[in-house]
């Protein structure tokens, strides 16, 4: 009879994860387990200076005394830190000099992921729009347009390479925003990080391309521990994007990254993330445990840092990209879309620490929860006594799909400055039956309708993404919700 589709009640079929394949490639793998020996092994692999090994060992000693944080609204079985291998790298020919020598198997992998690792020929006057650093398991396997960027004085390379080529710069800034003791996962990362990207934009330079890093976990029984460090000198500008995917596996894999940003006087850093780690299957089996520390320091006057994140993947997300607004008149922003379906859990948000005068921050968080998922926004706005005239505006919106999921908002506001203005607004809504029927009547099926409505809900955030990635991210939102509709 005419009883048409009812509202989604629960996740019925499995979401379609399009990046779940495994690359068959010979891999150099450290023995499983975590000890001082592991830390030394990684450091030796990378032929690191003594100061860095000492820094790692200090972090490891601290980590052993620390406890895994339990305050987040996340439930997962205890993580066995001794189980995985902490170093996995595809075996490559020695003396690799050009992209032509990258293992064809890796090129194929990135092709399949839609990430171009071949540089297009530069036509006169035309600058390609995106440069990529590709991190595969524990190492960076290729970085494109390095030379073209060097012409502007811009450094864009793997952190390992930067350690050897620009040791002073790395030493000056590594750990300057997120110390090796910052928290449990940051300490673990400091001890065992293997690679990541390094960016330096010199004074007065506006980076002519989008810079991006693509993180890929491939090998089973490993984790990924990368560090990204971006320094934007006075009056410079850079827009950076990271993406990440991993194969479908029944076992959980740990990802604990650290990102540090430093913006000097009047510099601007836009940092965007499209996080699409394997989320686990429709029964909550498998998926990445994503425990990430990201922080930007607005060190200079009138500097700007914005975090934009589209979080669709991972079984567990624990992530609070933050801004320390130290320079007077500096500006921080956090734009977030977090989608959880099936049994995914996300506890994500930001910290805005106002130290300088007239510092401003904006937080826009959109949480979407479907299936049995739990989605928490957790955010801190702290205004120090020194931050005269500071302002913050926070908007947190949650959208529920079905009756079995949860959305939670946990704002912390601490102000010690009477002239500060802090605003917080939060809403929770459901996709209404009226909206769905209206879309259906116009010819859209349930999945198209949901993708449209959810993308509309996220619009304020999506428009902050670089254009090159916005369309992909929109599609990803549709795909992430596939199967969460009854």
């Amino acid at each position: 009879m005419t009883q048409a589709k009812a509202l989604p009640q629960e996740a019925l079929s499995s979401a379609t994860y399009k990046h779940g394949f495994v690359t068959d490639i010979e891999t150099e793998l450290a023995p499983a387990g975590l000890s001082e020996e592991t830390v030394k092994y990684i450091s030796a692999k990378k032929d690191e200076p003594a100061w860095l090994l000492a820094w790692r060992l200090d972090a490891f000693a601290r980590w052993k005394k620390m406890k895994e944080p339990k305050w987040a609204k996340l439930h997962y079985p205890p993580i066995d830190y001794q189980a995985p291998s902490y170093y996995a790298a595809p075996k490559v020919k020695a003396g690799l000099k050009s992209l032509n020598e990258v293992d064809p198997e890796l090129l194929k992998t990135y092709d399949k992921l839609g990430i171009p690792l071949r540089e297009q020929e530069m036509l006169s006057g035309v600058t390609p729009s995106v440069a990529v650093d590709a991190v595969f398991d524990s190492v960076s396997v290729a970085t494109t347009y390095k030379k073209a960027l060097e012409a502007h004085g811009i450094i864009f390379c793997s952190l390992t390479e930067a350690l050897h080529t620009y040791p002073e710069l790395v030493k000056k800034y590594l750990g300057s925003v997120v110390s090796a003791h910052d928290n449990y996962f940051a300490a673990l990362n400091a001890a065992v990080f293997t690679d990541g990207s390094f960016v330096y934009i010199p004074k007065g330079v506006r980076c002519p391309m989008e810079l991006s890093t693509y993180f890929r976990i491939n090998t089973a029984n490993t984790g990924q521990f990368e560090r990204t460090l971006i320094v934007a000198d006075d009056d410079s500008y850079v827009s950076y994007l990271e993406g990440c995917t991993a194969p479908k596996r029944d076992e959980n894999q740990l990802h604990a990254a650290v990102v540090e940003l430093v913006a000097m006087d009047r510099a601007e850093i836009k940092y965007a993330t499209v996080q699409n780690w394997y989320p686990g299957d429709e029964n909550g089996l498998g998926g990445i445990y994503n425990f990430v520390t990201k922080r930007g320091l607005c060190k200079g006057v009138a500097s700007k840092i914005s975090w934009t994140q589209v979080e669709t993947g991972s079984a567990i997300t624990w992530k609070y990209p933050s801004c320390v607004l130290q320079g007077d008149d500096s500006i921080g922003a956090f734009y977030s879309v977090a989608i959880t379906s099936n049994y995914q859990q996300a506890d994500t948000g930001t910290k805005m620490i106002h130290l300088g005068k007239n510092t401003r921050s904006t937080i826009v968080s959109k949480g979407i929860s479907a299936g049995h998922a739990q989605n928490t926004y957790r955010g801190l706005v702290r205004v120090a006594r020194t931050a005269k005239g500071a302002r913050n505006k926070t908007q947190c919106d949650s959208l529920l799909i079905g009756n079995l999921c949860g959305a939670h908002t946990v704002p912390y506001i601490e102000s010690r400055q009477p002239t500060a203005r802090v605003e917080h607004e939060a809403t929770t809504s459901k996709i209404s039956e009226d909206q769905l029927f209206y879309c259906h009547q116009r010819g859209l099926d349930t999945e198209e309708a949901m993708a449209l409505i959810v993308n509309g809900f996220c619009r304020e955030v999506m428009k902050e993404l670089p254009m090159e990635f916005a369309v992909e991210a929109q599609k990803l939102i549709g795909v992430s919700l596939e199967g969460s509709i009854g």
Binding site: M1, T2, Q3, A4, K5, A6, L7, S432, E433, D434, Q435, F437, Y438, C439, H440, Q441, R442, G443, L444, D445, E448, L452, I453, N455, G456, F457, C458, R459, E460
Partner: protein, 250 residues
């Protein structure tokens, strides 16, 4: 075009349509009038396939094809369009995006080539102009912050873009001032065509001054009680539904 036979439908177990029979030939405009609670909106929702409305007996066919067994989006693709009495807001989705998605979904279902953004923009601008709608309105989120008149105009714009075979206008005149009524009616009249039929549901004769119907039906207590030419609407305006309601309830 539209053939409804002995249609019975319930909502939450309560029977609203009680054996409704109605036939709308190609290219004709039929008005459905009737007192509150007679089942006018129910008829439009049942034809469009709104969840919660259960057909217990009877049939409805569009160009010989069964409507009632199909999902709402399939009915839309088959050419059924409902102009809502209360158009729904979709925050963050621009009119342009919504219409592009809707038109392409319908075109895809009909095996036609999808429109790209440029083609769509051109098409939309042309159609919007007829209704006196600005580019700015195309960029606004669907029905969000629209006045009553703007919402109704927007419904007619969607109708013009989707080019349906059967248009059902559910109290499109409600909440319109006289100027808005004129614009909306002109938009509807512009869509009259030999291969397009319309079912105009209204309380008032007023709308029928602007959209001239070929036939007028009185729906009372879940059935078509009387049918006639345009003059029937005038008679109802003068005498009210009293007699029909009484007969329907008897």
């Amino acid at each position: 075009m539209l053939e409804i036979k002995n249609l019975h439908a319930t909502i939450q177990g309560k029977e609203i349509l009680k054996g409704l029979t109605l036939s709308v030939p190609d290219g004709e405009v039929h008005a459905i009038m009737g007192p509150n609670g007679a089942g006018k909106s129910t008829l439009s929702y049942v034809l469009a396939g709104r969840p919660g409305y259960v057909v217990t007996a009877g049939s409805a066919k569009l160009d010989g094809q069964d409507l009632l067994g199909a999902a709402p989006e399939k009915r839309a693709a088959a050419g059924l369009f409902l102009a809502f009495q209360y158009p729904v807001e979709i925050p963050g989705v621009t009119n342009m995006t919504f219409l592009k998605n809707a038109l392409n979904a319908v075109r895809k279902a009909r095996g036609e080539k999808e429109y790209d953004a440029m083609q769509m923009l051109k098409l939309l601008r042309g159609k919007a102009q007829v209704l006196g709608m600005s580019d700015e309105m195309l960029k606004r989120a669907v029905n969000v912050g629209f006045s009553g008149g703007e919402k109704k105009r927007n419904e007619v714009l969607q109708m013009a873009v989707l080019e349906p075979k059967l248009c059902i206008l559910d109290e499109t005149d409600s909440g319109l001032d006289i100027d808005a009524l004129r614009i909306v009616s002109a938009g509807v009249n512009a869509l009259r065509a030999p291969d397009r039929s319309m079912l105009v549901i209204t309380h008032y004769q007023r709308l029928l001054d602007y959209i001239k119907p070929d036939r007028v039906h009185v729906l009372a207590a879940g059935r078509i009680e009387r049918s006639g030419g345009p003059e029937l609407a005038l008679e109802l305006e003068a005498k009210g539904y009293g007699e029909d309601t009484a007969r329907g309830l008897a």
